[in-house]
């Protein structure tokens, strides 16, 4: 489906939702949110690897939700300079007070960062995401979307604690020419294989957001157009990952961290081979006075040079040391600045400067 057609679909959906203004009605409730973000970035790539690189990003994310009794609908469409995509489309049925089953396309529950921020750039303190949380079309190397069934439930423990569980089973992305390509509801392909994802979370206080958790994922990734994969004689990759994460607030501090070993069983025409890499990050955020937030992140991936799987994504940022500052202005807008020392397998080390304005409406 052409980008032009996708924009028409998105615009029509947005207009329908806007003219169906969200009013309290006994038969149902609805909500519409628009997340906008824009800003320039500068990548100081070394002369040996290519020219200095300026880019300008502009993203619009439209989110629509509808709730009627036990039924829920969630649709999210993103339009950017270089893409337009139906990111999420989920039909949900609440099976119990704390349980819900979803059918459709969703963000994989094993990626914690995505499960809290999705495409709501305004809510995310940093501009960039860590490698293991990066979306497929932004240089991500792990599946972040799945299409199928998702089940979420919570179990109340003694006192105020909560144990939450999410499980999904659906279509995995394929290894496209330059990136992972998830199943597209508006342009379905046939070569997608299966993916299963799980997340267990422990929250000491169910009404707060502090949590630690365990994530597991298994995906069968079919090669479908990747030139470098075909050169390796690669047909598909069976990928498994188990990781831990932490999201903790303490006074004016917030800490976000995750560590995930990834094992790739490379299924070739001639022989099979297994490689692995370990990737993790630690992000700290400190709320200063007057709506300023200082933040920084360290992320590192090991075995990058020995992983045939990572060779398929030569421009993925595998390592980063980043510092940033965010200023919240006018209640629903923010300005953020980030400076990073980053590394990709193809470009080596380089510096990156990003400035971003983000907004949510209404």
């Amino acid at each position: 489906m052409t980008t032009y057609t996708r924009y028409w679909i998105a615009s029509t959906l947005a207009l329908i939702a806007l003219f169906n203004a969200p009013q309290a009605r006994p038969e149902g409730q609805q909500d519409l949110l628009l997340f906008l973000s824009a800003g320039p970035s500068y990548h100081d790539v070394t002369p040996d690897d290519g020219p200095e690189d300026y880019e300008v990003a502009l993203d619009a994310d439209i989110l629509y939700t509808y709730l009627n009794g036990r039924f829920r609908l969630l649709g999210e469409y993103i339009a950017a300079i270089d893409e337009a995509e139906l990111e999420r489309f989920q039909l949900g049925w609440q099976t119990g007070q704390e349980s819900i089953g979803w059918l459709g396309r969703f963000h994989s529950p094993s990626r914690y960062w995505n499960s809290i921020y999705h495409h709501g750039q305004f809510l995310q303190t940093s501009i960039t995401r860590p490698l293991i949380e990066q979306f497929e079309d932004d240089g991500g190397v792990l599946p972040t979307h799945s299409t199928g069934l998702l089940f979420e439930t919570a179990h109340k423990l003694d006192g105020t604690a909560d144990l939450r569980f999410a499980f999904s089973f659906g279509a995995a992305p394929v290894i496209d020419r330059t990136e992972l390509k998830p199943f597209d509801l508006l342009d379905p392909g046939s070569s997608n294989r299966a993916a299963a994802d799980m997340r267990f979370a422990y929250l000491p206080d169910q009404l707060e957001e502090n949590q630690i958790g365990l994530v597991l994922s298994g995906s069968d990734l079919e090669v479908d157009g990747s030139h470098s994969a075909e050169q390796q004689g690669l047909r598909r990759v069976e990928q498994a990952s188990i990781g831990v994460y932490l999201d903790w607030r303490w006074q004016d501090w917030r800490f976000l961290s995750s560590l995930a070993p990834v094992i790739n069983r490379m299924k070739r025409q001639a022989h099979n081979q297994t490689d692995s890499f370990l990737s993790g990050y630690f992000q700290a955020e400190y709320e200063l006075k007057y709506d300023w937030t200082l933040f920084g992140r360290l992320e590192q991936t090991n075995n990058t040079s020995s992983s045939d799987y990572l060779e398929l994504f030569p421009h993925a940022v595998t390592d980063r040391q980043m510092l940033g500052l965010r200023f919240d202005l006018a209640r629903q807008q923010a300005l953020s600045f980030e400076v990073s020392r980053a590394k990709t397998p193809a470009d080596g080390d380089f510096e990156q400067y990003l400035l971003q304005w983000s907004l949510v409406f209404p």
Partner: protein, 148 residues
């Protein structure tokens, strides 16, 4: 009447008025007069406004936000959700984003708020006690804030 007696009566009148006015500085939790809801404890009320499902008779109780004036909003943030405005705003934004749950409806017009309450017997809101006392279409479930 002597001037002293008149002054005393005036003082007494002022005292009584002040006491009565003070008693009115209460914020109450209300539902439609026809609502089957009787009481909700503080934890349940906080859950409702944070987007957690709280049920009565198998129906999810909805919280409607009364944004009529800033004092009322400040009391709501302090007493019911126990959050700063910024933190609560971010928490509300995450409701549709993460769970597909629309944010609680906001009303700054008392008539519209009462209409919404009467349409859904499993909905609640909060308002000044004197406003609640003047409407026959609603019933008070509990006092949630009282001026010291």
């Amino acid at each position: 009447m002597s001037p002293v007696r008149a002054l005393l009566i005036c003082c007494l009148g002022i005292m009584l008025y002040t006491q009565a006015a003070g008693a009115e500085r209460q914020v109450v939790l209300v539902a439609a007069a026809t609502s089957p809801l009787h009481d909700l404890d503080s934890l349940e009320l906080r859950k409702i406004y944070l987007g957690f499902p709280v049920t009565r008779d198998g129906k999810i109780v909805r919280g409607l936000r009364n944004t009529e004036d800033e004092d009322l909003n400040r009391i709501f943030l302090q007493t019911i959700v126990a959050m700063s405005e910024k933190a609560y705003r971010r928490r509300l934004l995450s409701l549709p984003l993460r769970q597909g749950i629309p944010r609680p409806d906001k009303y700054n017009n008392p008539e519209h708020l009462l209409e919404a309450l009467s349409r859904d017997p499993y909905s609640v809101t909060y308002m000044w006690k004197d406003a609640a006392d003047h409407s026959a279409d609603i019933k008070t479930l509990k006092v949630i804030w009282q001026q010291d």
